[in-house]
């Protein structure tokens, strides 16, 4: 499928010079991109690169079946361009973002409003879609919530208990990470990468490190790649376990809720054994890893991992054995496979719609070229399917760790990294626990960052949550939300 594309192909974690990226006038660029999306490509990122007073659009596509990525761009322009969202919904947030950042107007965009900021105001102040009618009531939730969670605003249009439409307004945690990166990498860059979304520190740091290595046309030592893969699975284990516990808590099922809260801590502590930080901060760095895993420590980790896995399996078994829990999860918050494909859902949320989509399998790089966990897919698209996929991934991550921990590759941990090549574009995808983490960097003539684009999986998946709520009872919003558990700060950047 990708063999005939006019886009330039490249593999995950590789780079190409900026001149190699094909450029078309913007109308042709949009048409070509639309044609590729129709043929089954997926939009990983769409962003603007300023060129003097004008801006050029860059699209990064993924051909999952062919394990290849494709890049194309428009020639610099100002003003308007025909909207891609009108025909391909997965572009809608990207186009709004470009409009917000560069002022390029997508003509024909069905719902053009800011993504993160409204001139000086909080995003929630922007106009919301409203359903008219005497029977309709509007419910506004957030940005300050009853629990200790991140800020976000949810606007429901309901007829009785049934939700007709949900609109989500974010941007309360916009920190300007992408802007701060231009001219980089700076000394603070790695720390910023680890805090894009605190619970996805390892995935984002790995994506950044891989990108830096691609820009320097080198690769981290095998032992470092092995360590990164282990840390990534530990991150997945901790978050999936915590979320299943939170799901149980939301339906007031205490046994699993209590057990998973404790077990999440066990997995976080395993990460702390690896690098001294429960969220894996300071482990990954461009060129390699900062902390080695000695054989004695690896054995100790295995010894702690086994009982934690057994206990987790037991806690999850309670969840599936309870008819009351299954009745709550089944047929609630359904996302249909066609919708998942249309909006470009990623990660466990996509796999729970029966879509085979996993960067570790589709676009393997690093250690995943040598060791793979099977892709976990479950049909249904409801809360049950999402919980099920997560529970199966817990099992498979555990198996992956048990296999990998006893057999480390030999060699050094951290190599010297050359300076980034000038005028080069590099792409790195990593399967974080929420899904595909995408980092794209473009360097200037001095080898500094000219543009750095980050796409957190939440950026794709928030639309999925909004769709899942249609026709669902508003009282089921919390379990739908928890089954996705998307990042606010990863979206807000």
């Amino acid at each position: 499928m990708s063999a005939t594309t006019p886009f330039t192909l490249l593999a995950n974690a590789s780079s190409m010079t900026w001149a190699e990226v094909p450029a078309w006038p913007v109308v042709d660029f949009i048409r070509t991109t639309g044609a590729e999306l129709t043929r089954g490509a997926r939009l990983c990122a769409l962003f603007g690169v300023p060129e003097g007073a004008a801006v050029q659009l860059v699209a990064v596509l993924a051909f999952d079946a062919d394990s290849t990525l494709a890049v194309g761009r428009s020639i610099p322009f100002c003003g308007e361009y025909p909207s891609l969202s009108a025909s391909h919904a997965q572009a809608h947030l990207f186009e709004r973002e470009v409009w917000e950042q560069h002022g390029l107007t997508p003509v024909g965009h069905p719902w053009l409003k800011p993504v993160r900021r409204t001139a000086g105001d909080a995003p929630a102040n922007a106009g919301f879609f409203r359903v008219a009618g005497g029977e309709i009531h509007e419910v506004a939730v957030g940005p300050v919530h009853a629990g200790i969670i991140e800020p976000g605003h949810f606007r429901f249009q309901c007829a009785g208990e049934e939700v007709l439409h949900l609109e989500i307004a974010l941007g309360y945690q916009h920190r300007g990470i992408e802007e701060a990166l231009s001219g980089g990498p700076h000394r603070a860059t790695l720390i910023q990468m680890e805090t894009i979304a605190g619970d996805t520190s390892i995935a984002h740091a790995t994506a950044h490190a891989t990108l830096m290595e691609a820009l320097a046309d080198s690769e981290a030592p095998l032992r470092a790649q092995w360590l990164r893969a282990i840390a990534l699975e530990l991150e997945r284990l901790a978050n999936h376990t915590g979320d299943l516990g939170a799901l149980a808590n939301d339906v007031a099922f205490l046994p699993t809720s209590s057990a998973c809260g404790k077990l999440r801590g066990d997995f976080l502590n395993l990460t702390a054994m690896l690098c001294g930080n429960r969220f894996g901060r300071g482990l990954v760095r461009p060129g390699g890893c900062r902390h080695d895993l000695e054989p004695a420590l690896a054995t100790q980790m295995l010894e702690r991992l086994r009982p934690a896995m057994t206990d987790t399996a037991q806690a999850i078994a309670w969840l599936w054995d309870s008819a009351a829990v299954r009745a709550r999860f089944e047929n609630v918050g359904v996302v249909f496979p066609t919708q998942a494909a249309e909006i470009g859902l990623v990660g466990p949320a996509a796999r729970a719609c029966g879509v085979v989509r996993d960067v570790r399998y589709d676009h393997p790089c690093g250690w995943h070229r040598f060791a793979q966990a099977p892709v976990t897919v479950w049909p249904g698209g409801d809360v049950f399917a999402r919980a099920r996929v997560r529970s199966l991934e817990i099992q498979r991550s555990g198996e992956f760790l048990s296999e990998q921990l006893p057999s480390p590759p030999e060699g050094g941990l951290c190599g010297e990294l050359a300076a980034p090549a000038p005028d080069t574009l590099a792409v790195a995808l990593v399967e974080g626990w929420r899904g595909e983490v995408c980092h794209v960097a473009l360097t200037d003539s001095a080898g500094r960052f000219r543009r750095y684009k980050i796409t957190d999986p939440s950026f794709h998946n928030w639309s999925g949550l909004a769709l899942a709520l249609r026709g669902t009872a508003i009282s089921d919003f919390p379990i739908c939300n928890k089954s996705f558990n998307l990042s606010y700060c990863g979206f807000d950047l």
């Binding site: 149980a248 007031a252 099922f253 205490l254 009351a324 829990v325 709550r328 009282s475 089921d476």
Partner: protein, 302 residues
């Protein structure tokens, strides 16, 4: 003089012992989960703390917002005074007091619902709608239960009605009334008293905007309601009229404790139902009470 002493003793029982029940439920839940849990007396501490706080009022709310929780509290206390306490008998007893008790419970709910609408918040509106629609079904079950007790004893006074004999009717009533107790007191599987999620709340959503002493009155009233239903359930099922006063009192206390622990266990082991399934369970409770009525009417009581 004796009646004054009796009144004080009775008030003490209801006012001072009621907040113990939520504490016991929470201890049971913590124990099942392997946690230490909050102290049994936590609600007493909370009430003392709330009593010292000031009231925060929405600019939209009328003074009814503060008065109505007091109305609810008084209505619940009134209902409690009508209920006989084992060997102590009822504080006030007359023909038809069972109906007055039902109406006082309904009045309490009406006042809470009205107070909830005062602030004009979407959450409270949703909570009220839910509470009131489920109450319709729960009240049907409750009335069927009272009718069955009435037919069984041939009386309309609680003091005579609550002298059951063991049998099929008692078993059916126990099951039906226990479900009604869970629904009326917003326990799992109907509602989750611990949830922080506004969108899934029923009763909690109605009282979100209350603060200070009115909130204390609401929480204390809720614990009295729980005690009331537990006492009613135990006396409607366990025959204790032929026991020594001390033994009867012990049996009542033990029964109430047993019901409380059962609520805690249900809450520990069962997930909450989806809203659309709640009417099914309440209808089941209604049917159980209805069959109890049939048994009492046509059945075996000689």
């Amino acid at each position: 003089m004796k009646s004054l002493l009796d009144l004080i003793l009775r008030l003490d029982c209801w006012l001072l012992l009621a907040p113990l029940l939520p504490g016991i439920i929470n201890k049971v839940k913590a124990w099942v989960a392997g946690r230490r849990g909050p102290p049994v007396l936590q609600l007493y501490y909370d009430l003392a703390r709330l009593w010292k706080k000031s009231v925060v009022m929405s600019t939209l709310a009328s003074p009814a917002f503060v008065i109505l929780p007091a109305v609810t509290w008084v209505a619940l206390l009134g209902a409690a005074m009508l209920l006989p306490l084992g060997p102590l008998g009822a504080g006030l007893s007359f023909r038809g007091d069972a109906l007055l008790m039902l109406y006082l419970l309904a009045l309490g709910r009406f006042a809470t619902a009205w107070a909830a609408m005062e602030t004009g918040s979407a959450f409270e509106g949703m909570g009220t709608v839910r509470e009131v629609s489920y109450a319709v079904l729960a009240e049907a079950a409750m009335i069927a239960a009272v009718l069955s007790l009435s037919v069984q004893s041939g009386s309309l006074s609680l003091a005579t009605m609550l002298t059951p004999s063991l049998g099929a009717s008692a078993v059916l009533l126990a099951a039906g009334l226990f479900i009604v107790l869970l629904a009326e007191n917003c326990r799992v599987p109907f509602d989750d008293p611990n949830t922080h999620l506004e969108l899934t709340m029923i009763h909690e959503a109605m009282v979100l905007d209350h603060s200070g002493p009115p909130l204390a009155a609401i929480l204390h009233g809720a614990s009295m309601k729980l005690l009331l239903f537990a006492v009613l359930l135990v006396q409607a099922v366990l025959p204790m009229q032929h026991l020594q006063p001390l033994a009867a009192a012990g049996l009542l206390a033990g029964g109430v404790l047993g019901v409380t622990v059962a609520v805690g266990l249900v809450e520990s082991l069962l997930a909450r139902f989806a809203f659309r399934r709640v009417p099914l369970l309440l209808t089941a409770a209604f049917l159980l009470c209805l069959f109890a009525l049939l048994v009492a009417w046509k059945g075996g009581v000689p």
